[in-house]
């Protein structure tokens, strides 16, 4: 295989010791093109978050290889944007300062921060506007709803213009209406900035609505057991999630997950 922006080749990852540790991934293969939006779905505990840690270099793989932008990953990548289920904003910082945090850490922004401060702040305001939080700059996280906090978290993941955006169940803690609203926000962000997005979720509607391609993972130890291209034209409207062809895709993926869940005895 060649040409993928993110490539996993036969990746296994074991937490802890040889005998006693948990084998979380085994023989995982994946190839994501630059600018592609993929979703990974799978039963709970199958190793989805572990997959993220392996791809971003946050946790070393036990065997196999991870390549990002043509380079083998052997330590934390330094230019990934990440967001999780918990927004994990810093409560002592305003919304704007929370969004600015990555610029205080990631190079080359870090060394330019003092000289280009106002420009960076403008950029952060622009992002907040893109996710529908115009005018909330000076609010503190505790003054925001859960959905708003997650929007800020998304801005924080985007401010340094990462080529790779990793989202680990970012909307899982939100109510359905807020979640659907944020799908629209995320699609809009992606169409504007065109980062490569890897979205982990256990919500099939979310995966099919947002992604160009959906991967299904087996039960632990996780690997990809199915992939499916999603061809709906963009921008996608929420209505399509109620169309029969959409439902059929979701149903098909669901069947694969149920097969995966029945399988683990064989795999482990």
């Amino acid at each position: 295989m060649s040409g993928g922006f993110v490539e996993l080749e036969d990746v296994s990852l074991r937490y802890g010791g040889e005998e006693t540790g948990t084998l979380a991934l085994s023989g995982a293969n994946l190839k994501v093109d630059k600018g592609e939006f993929i979703a990974v779905v799978g039963p709970s505990g199958c190793g989805k978050s572990t997959l993220m840690k392996a791809m971003s270099g946050l946790w070393p793989v036990t065997s196999g290889g991870v390549r990002v932008a043509g380079h083998y990953v052997d330590g934390p990548l330094s230019m990934v944007g990440m967001a999780f289920q918990a927004a994990t904003l810093l409560p002592w910082r305003s919304t704007l300062d929370n969004v600015m945090l990555p610029l205080e850490i990631a190079q080359p922004y870090r060394s330019q921060l003092s000289s280009r401060k106002e420009e960076f702040r403008e950029k952060a305001r622009g992002l907040l506007k893109l996710v529908g939080l115009e005018g909330f700059d000076d609010k503190f996280p505790w003054q925001l709803s859960g959905g708003m906090q997650q929007r800020v978290s998304l801005c924080r993941a985007l401010i340094h213009e990462p080529e790779l955006l990793m989202l680990d169940e970012p909307f899982a803690a939100l109510d359905m209406f807020t979640r659907e609203e944020l799908w629209g926000v995320l699609q809009n962000v992606w169409m504007t900035k065109k980062p490569t997005v890897i979205l982990v979720t256990h919500d099939l509607r979310e995966a099919v609505y947002l992604a160009d391609k959906v991967y299904v993972m087996s039960a632990r130890p996780g690997r990809m057991i199915h992939e499916r291209d999603i061809e709906f034209a963009r921008p996608r409207e929420l209505d399509i999630t109620f169309r029969p062809d959409f439902g059929a895709i979701a149903q098909d993926l669901r069947d694969h997950i149920y097969t995966a869940r029945a399988e683990p005895a064989k795999a482990a």
């Binding site: 840690k53 971003s56 270099g57 946050l58 934390p76 990548l77 330094s78 230019m79 990934v80 944007g81 990440m82 967001a83 999780f84 918990a86 994990t88 810093l90 409560p91 002592w92 945090l101 990555p102 205080e104 850490i105 990631a106 190079q107 503190f140 996280p141 505790w142 003054q143 925001l144 709803s145 859960g146 959905g147 906090q149 924080r156 993941a157 340094h160 990793m166 803690a173 109510d175 807020t178």
Partner: protein, 284 residues
């Protein structure tokens, strides 16, 4: 979520607007404010009455009126010795802050240091500090130094533990977000760990200042020629029981005063911590 500690400012206008209705009726808030004074006053009244009714001898239990009289009579030495105790407490406490912050940050930042030092610190903390005072006297002689060191020894621990906890409990996901940006360990501690531990730190000051005060007094009672502890020991050896009680009373007042100051500082410095305790999702 109406957290009373979270809105100390907003309470004032609400409370002053309330009594229009009843004239003499006290609002809940006003009642909460005067309650401590009522309790203190009530206790003194009962005490005074009990002593008079049962006619306790003064050298067993002096009445509050007698104690206040003794306080007034001995006001000069009391103030003098109280100032000494306040001095040793504040110096010992100050050293404890510096030492507690530094070691707290070190211990909280590294699981290796944490695992290595924590058992030792626990062991050290369980030694009654009064048992250490004689050693300090051998090393430093009788006087101010053992009191300062005792105050320090007894009060750095709560500061250290709180700072270390604040730093060690940074959410893994937040660490991942930052590490994926190329953050070093140091970056994470400076940007997140230390600010995050500040509420823990300021909360610990309340405890630390109180125990530092206790430490000073312990040292003074064992090995000093000055201080409120020394004054009480002297008074009791001369059977001036009202003066002993006057010393106790002054000690209590000073303890409350120090706590109030520490509490005030805490509120001023880390308002965001009390406010963010409310349910973040509740405003959706």
């Amino acid at each position: 979520m109406a957290d009373t500690t979270a809105q100390p400012q907003s309470s004032t206008p609400a409370a002053s607007a309330a009594p229009q209705a009843g004239g003499l009726k006290l609002s809940q808030r006003q009642l909460e404010r005067v309650m401590p004074w009522l309790v203190v006053f009530g206790l003194f009244a009962i005490w005074e009455l009990t002593v008079r009714v049962f006619d306790f001898p003064q050298f067993i239990l002096p009445a509050p009126s007698v104690i206040f009289e003794a306080m007034w009579q001995w006001r000069v030495p009391i103030i003098d010795n109280a100032a000494q105790t306040a001095f040793t407490t504040v110096i010992g406490f100050g050293i404890a802050i510096v030492f507690g912050l530094i070691t707290g940050i070190l211990i909280g930042s590294s699981s290796l240091v944490y695992n290595g030092f924590y058992p030792v610190l626990i062991g050290f903390n369980s030694i009654p500090k009064v048992a250490v005072v004689p050693i300090l006297v051998i090393w430093f002689g009788i006087g101010t130094v053992p009191a300062i060191i005792t105050a320090f020894l007894i009060s750095f621990f709560p500061i250290l533990v709180n700072v270390a906890t604040g730093i060690a409990t940074v959410e893994q996901e937040l660490k991942d977000v930052l590490r994926a940006l190329g953050a070093s360990k140091r970056d994470i501690i400076i940007k997140v760990g230390i600010p995050r531990s500040l509420p823990y730190f300021f909360a610990s000051l309340k405890i630390a200042i109180t125990v530092a005060f206790v430490g000073s007094i312990i040292a003074e009672t064992v090995a000093s020629n000055k201080g409120i502890g020394h004054l009480m020991i002297q008074a009791s050896s001369r059977f001036e029981v009202p003066l002993v009680f006057a010393g106790l009373l002054v000690t209590a007042i000073m303890g409350v005063a120090m706590y109030v100051v520490a509490n005030f500082v805490e509120r001023r410095m880390t308002g965001w911590a009390t406010r963010s305790q409310g349910d973040p999702g509740s405003q959706t």
